[in-house]
Structures are given as structure tokens and as C-alpha cells.
């Protein structure tokens, strides 16, 4: 039962073939059995989940159910929840109970979704493998010696291990799409500003974006329907009509122009991943889409640009963790200076410190123009290049990740880890929507994902194209059976 898609579960709940209590219990049983190995969840509250499931069943019985009513969902532990600690997988926030809910949490509660718990992530979402979590790495259900990706690796592992029907994630440089790719899921990063960031603990404010992690594109559309909204509490929220995204799923991609950029198929790309992406391209052609060669020459500057801008914003956002108002405080500080320095040094892990240091460095006197200002100019060039490309094509198809899931400790050098985001971070810099869709398996049996990138606010074309592909292929139907 816990292997159902969101659509299947919603249909069975609506016809009362199953109850939300049964479905929630099935997920909780799976969590109890496998979370000690997979480490997908930081916090689980079975009692509250079952109470919410009972309320959902009552709502459905009364004829007031919505598509998400009674669906067990996992929240990345970066979304504020008033009834459950929100840790960001950091010692700094180990016991933090937020005084308010994130807007997205509120929307999902109102829709009747059942919150199972909070999922593991790289500390403050800084990482691509969940290895930087204070609570230990999550494991990939497809091969537990490997990472489920990051930073939303707990969310991806939870769904792939059949512990939840769907999950929320956040994507600053690929943190929804890359873990989705590494665990055979569909992960959508909406246009920047589409989903409220209110109540999401900030990492890099001009890049962070919430989105759905699901088993199918149809499920992503269903979840996105509830997640998208204009929010006056978020000054970066876009005022734009929110369509019913499921209506876009026509199955038809005839005449669609799909851009293929040579820059995304260079040396660092694994051969098996390349072959799977090329087969997917042919599949789209067979479905009536047209492949159009395009060039995005500034793509190569995305990594340096991102690793200047995101640490700069992180160093500013994380200045609030000073041990005074909330969060970790060191034992017996001898004065206020000691309190600041020791609380921050003991409360943060190495990757967070590294990024705070980089951010402070690039913003410091003498380096601001050479690094930060230069990166903002590069960002403009990268965004303009996409704008020009979208005058010729409707979407762009690329690999999501240069490799399949890598082993723990394999990328212990930060630079190597940073390079694993090479195909996803452009999308965040330009504020575009992007989706990762399962498109094959390598010879080790590990999932491969492809990325589709769309025009601003055009999630409908992305979902339509992803859904049309999933109607013709069955990669997304493969599940792990953990026993």
C-alpha cells in the first residue's frame, strides 16, 4: 500500500477502498522497520500522524475531502512546523520548536495531508549527499553504501524506501532534482518565487525554492497545486495565477521544440548516463517533439558564480545564529565574545563553516568587486543566455547529475562535491523551473535522471512533457523492495 503513487492513493481514499489510517500505518511500519538503516527521518511523530489520518478519514467520510486529504507526506526538516522540532539537521537547531508554521506547511495541513515527520538533509541544506547532516547521512535505498543525494536526501530516501507517498524539498542549487535523480523519483524545482519561502529556514535567499518530490509527474502536479500561492508574507513571492497543473497533463508533446545544448554533454559526463539521456531524446522525437541544437556557452561559469553568490548569502543569513535568542549556546561562556564564538563554532559543522568563511571572504573589503560583483554580472549573462535560448525552444533537456549515486566518502574534497551540481545550478541562478525525471538505470542497477528546464512560470510545459514521457516508459515504476 505504501508503494502507491499519490494519484493511486488519492483515488483509493476517495472510493474508501483504503483508509488514511491504514495508509499512514503502513508508512509508519515501514519507517519503524527501515529508518534505523536508511536514516531518512530526523523526527517521526506516529501519534500525531495517526490523529491527522483519523481526522482526514472523517473529512473524506463527510464528503469534504480534497486530492491530498489523508495522504502521508514527509517534510524536509527545513520547513517550520509548530508542533514538531525543525532542526535543519544542525546541532545549532537540535531542539528548536518554531513559533510559526511555514506557509507551505499550512497549505498542506489545510489540504488534509498527514505529516509523518521531518526528513534529514545536509546541514542547513549545504551539500549534495546528506553527509553533512549532524544526525548522520541518509542512505540510498537502491544501494545503502551510496548517498541518496542532497540536500533533500532524506526526502528522496523516504519516498524511495516506501516510507512516504510524497515529500517536500527545497532546491538552492539542485537539492530537489539531484536526489530525485539518484533515487528514481520525479523532483520539481518551480520558478523562483512561485512557492512561498516564508517559514523555510534560509540558506541563500535569492536561490532557495521549495518544490515537490514524488513518484510521478502527475503526483508532482497534484502536490504543486497545493504548494503554489502568492504570499504577502514573502516579499519575493510572485503574483501570478496558479493554474490546476493536472489539467496540463495532456500526454501530447507533438511539435514541442526541445533544446539540446552541447555544453551539458562534455567530458565530465558518465557514459552510461549520456547513453540514457540520448535514448530519452530519441523517445521524445518518436513522440513528435523536435530536437533543436542550442548553445549555452556561459554554462561553464555557473559553478564559480554559484559558489560565490550562495556562500555570500549564507554568511549573511547565518549571522543570526549567535547563541542569544534561539539555538545552541555553549556551556558557561565567560563573556559575550566567548558566547558568540564558541556557540557558532560548536553549533555549526564543517561544511557550514566553510561556506560562511567563503561568503565572508568574498564580501570582505578588497574582494567584493573581484568576486561578489563579478559573480552577479556573470549571473546576468547566464540568465540572458537562457532567455535567448527560450526564444527558439520550449524547453531544454540535459542530464540531472553527471553520475549515478556515488559512495559515501567518495567526494571528500569540497571542490569535487561542488562539481556534482554542474547541470542544476544554472537553473537556480536564472530563477527558472526545472524537473528531474527517471530515464534509465546503469549497469550497477542505479537510477539515472534527466532534467527538463522551462521558461519562467511555465511549469505546465515541464509537467506535460515529463508526464507524456512517463506514459511511454516505465523507469519511474521501478521500486526498491527492502524486505
Amino acid at each position: 500500500m505504501n508503494e502507491l503513487t499519490l494519484r493511486e492513493a488519492a483515488d483509493k481514499l476517495a472510493t474508501k477502498e483504503i483508509s488514511s489510517v491504514e495508509l499512514t500505518q503502513a508508512c509508519l511500519d515501514q519507517i519503524a522497520k527501515h529508518n534505523p538503516t536508511i536514516n531518512a527521518f530526523v523526527t517521526v511523530d506516529a501519534e500525531k500522524a495517526l490523529a491527522a489520518a483519523q481526522a482526514a478519514d472523517a473529512r473524506i467520510a463527510a464528503g469534504n475531502g480534497a486530492p491530498l486529504t489523508g495522504i502521508p507526506i514527509a517534510h524536509k526538516d527545513i520547513f517550520n512546523t509548530t508542533d514538531m522540532r525543525t532542526t535543519c539537521s544542525s546541532r545549532m537547531l537540535e531542539n528548536f520548536i518554531p513559533p510559526f508554521d511555514a506557509t507551505i506547511t499550512t497549505h498542506l495541513r489545510q489540504a488534509g495531508a498527514v505529516i509523518l515527520g521531518k526528513t534529514n538533509l545536509d546541514e542547513f541544506a549545504m551539500g549534495s549527499s546528506t553527509e553533512t547532516s549532524y544526525f548522520g547521512a541518509s542512505r540510498n535505498p537502491w544501494d545503502t553504501q551510496r548517498t541518496p543525494g542532497g540536500s533533500s536526501g532524506g526526502s528522496s530516501a523516504a519516498i524511495a524506501a516506501n516510507m512516504a507517498i510524497c515529500a517536500t524539498g527545497t532546491d538552492t542549487g539542485g537539492s530537489i532534482r539531484q536526489p530525485a535523480s539518484l533515487t528514481n523519483l520525479t523532483g520539481l524545482k518551480p520558478t523562483y518565487g512561485r512557492c512561498s519561502r516564508y517559514g523555510i529556514i534560509a540558506f541563500a535567499s535569492s536561490l532557495d525554492q521549495a518544490g515537490p518530490m514524488t513518484r510521478t509527474a502527475e503526483d508532482a502536479a497534484m502536490l504543486l497545486n497545493v504548494m503554489v500561492s502568492y504570499d504577502p508574507k514573502d516579499s519575493t513571492s510572485i503574483q501570478s495565477p496558479a493554474p490546476d497543473f493536472t489539467q496540463a497533463l495532456t500526454g501530447d508533446v507533438k511539435g514541442l521544440k526541445i533544446g539540446i545544448a552541447a555544453e551539458y554533454f562534455g567530458d565530465g559526463l558518465n557514459d552510461e548516463v549520456r547513453a540514457a539521456i540520448e535514448t530519452a531524446q530519441q523517445q521524445y522525437q518518436a513522440m513528435g517533439a523536435e530536437l533543436v541544437p542550442i548553445s549555452l556557452p556561459n554554462s561553464g561559469y555557473a559553478i564559480p558564480t554559484y559558489y560565490i553568490i550562495s556562500p555570500a548569502e549564507c554568511s549573511s543569513n547565518l549571522a543570526r545564529y549567535d547563541g542569544v535568542k534561539f539555538g545552541y549556546r555553549c556551556e558557561e561562556p565567560k563573556d559575550i565574545r566567548d558566547l558568540y564564538f564558541r556557540s557558532r563554532s560548536e553549533g555549526f559543522g564543517d561544511e557550514v563553516k566553510r561556506r560562511i568563511m567563503l561568503g565572508t571572504y568574498v564580501l570582505s573589503s578588497g574582494y567584493y568587486d573581484a568576486y561578489y560583483r563579478k559573480a552577479q554580472q556573470a549571473r546576468r549573462l547566464i540568465a540572458d543566455e537562457f532567455k535567448a535560448a527560450f526564444e527558439k525552444v520550449d524547453l531544454i533537456l540535459t542530464p540531472t547529475s553527471p553520475t549515478t549515486a556515488f559512495k559515501f566518502g567518495e567526494k571528500d574534497d569540497p571542490v569535487q562535491m561542488y562539481l556534482s551540481d554542474i547541470y542544476t545550478i544554472n537553473v537556480n541562478l536564472a530563477g527558472l523551473p526545472g524537473i528531474s525525471v527517471p530515464c534509465g538505470f546503469d549497469s550497477k542497477g542505479l537510477p539515472i535522471g534527466m532534467q527538463l528546464i522551462g521558461r519562467p512560470l511555465d511549469e505546465e510545459t515541464l509537467l506535460r512533457s515529463a508526464d507524456a514521457y512517463q506514459r511511454q516508459t516505465d523507469w519511474h515504476k521501478r521500486r526498491v523492495h527492502l524486505g
Binding site: 561553464g300 549556546r329 558566547l339 563554532s345 560562511i356 570582505s364 554580472q377
Partner: protein, 95 residues
């Protein structure tokens, strides 16, 4: 470009972080390699390009300057590491 241990100590001080000798050495090496990665940008011509600080071109919304969620002292203090008489408590600041 090599980032020296002195620079690491200076930046750590600005960021209110402290490192021991081993950490300073390690961070100096790692940050040097990351800065090398960043230096690739110097090859990109950006003369006259307007810096982009945000992904969406939009004006900052304005609202009336009114309190919308006041009277939450106890809620806000609930997460404080140390509080007394309705205030955050910290070590003595002024001698």
C-alpha cells in the same frame, strides 16, 4: 590563489568563528582550492554588465508600517537558551 592562515584567521574573526591550528591549516588549503575555482570567472568579460542580485525583476512590495503579529514575548522566549524576567539573558557586556 593561496589563502594564507593569517587570512583564514582574519575572516574567521569577522565571521565570529574560531579555529584551532589544525583547522586553520585545513581550511586554508580547502579555501585556496575553492578560490582557485572561483578565479575562473576572471576570464569572463563583464564590462558594462549590470549586476543581477535577484532572479526575478520585480519591485519590492510595500506594506503599511503596522504591527501584525505582536504580543508574542513568551512564544519568542520559549526557544531562548537563557531568559529572565521577559528578557534574553547573556553574559555581562559592559564592564
Amino acid at each position: 590563489m593561496s589563502v594564507t592562515k593569517e587570512t583564514v584567521q582574519h575572516v574567521a574573526n569577522l565571521a565570529r568563528l574560531q579555529f584551532n591550528e589544525e583547522e586553520t591549516e585545513r581550511f586554508s588549503g580547502q579555501i585556496s582550492r575553492i578560490v582557485d575555482l572561483m578565479d575562473a570567472l576572471s576570464k569572463l568579460p563583464t564590462e558594462g554588465v549590470k549586476p543581477m542580485s535577484h532572479a526575478v525583476d520585480m519591485a519590492i512590495p510595500q506594506r503599511d508600517d503596522v504591527v501584525t503579529n505582536g504580543n508574542q514575548r513568551d512564544t519568542m522566549l520559549a526557544n531562548a537558551p537563557d531568559a529572565e524576567k521577559g528578557h534574553f539573558r547573556v553574559p555581562k557586556v559592559i564592564e
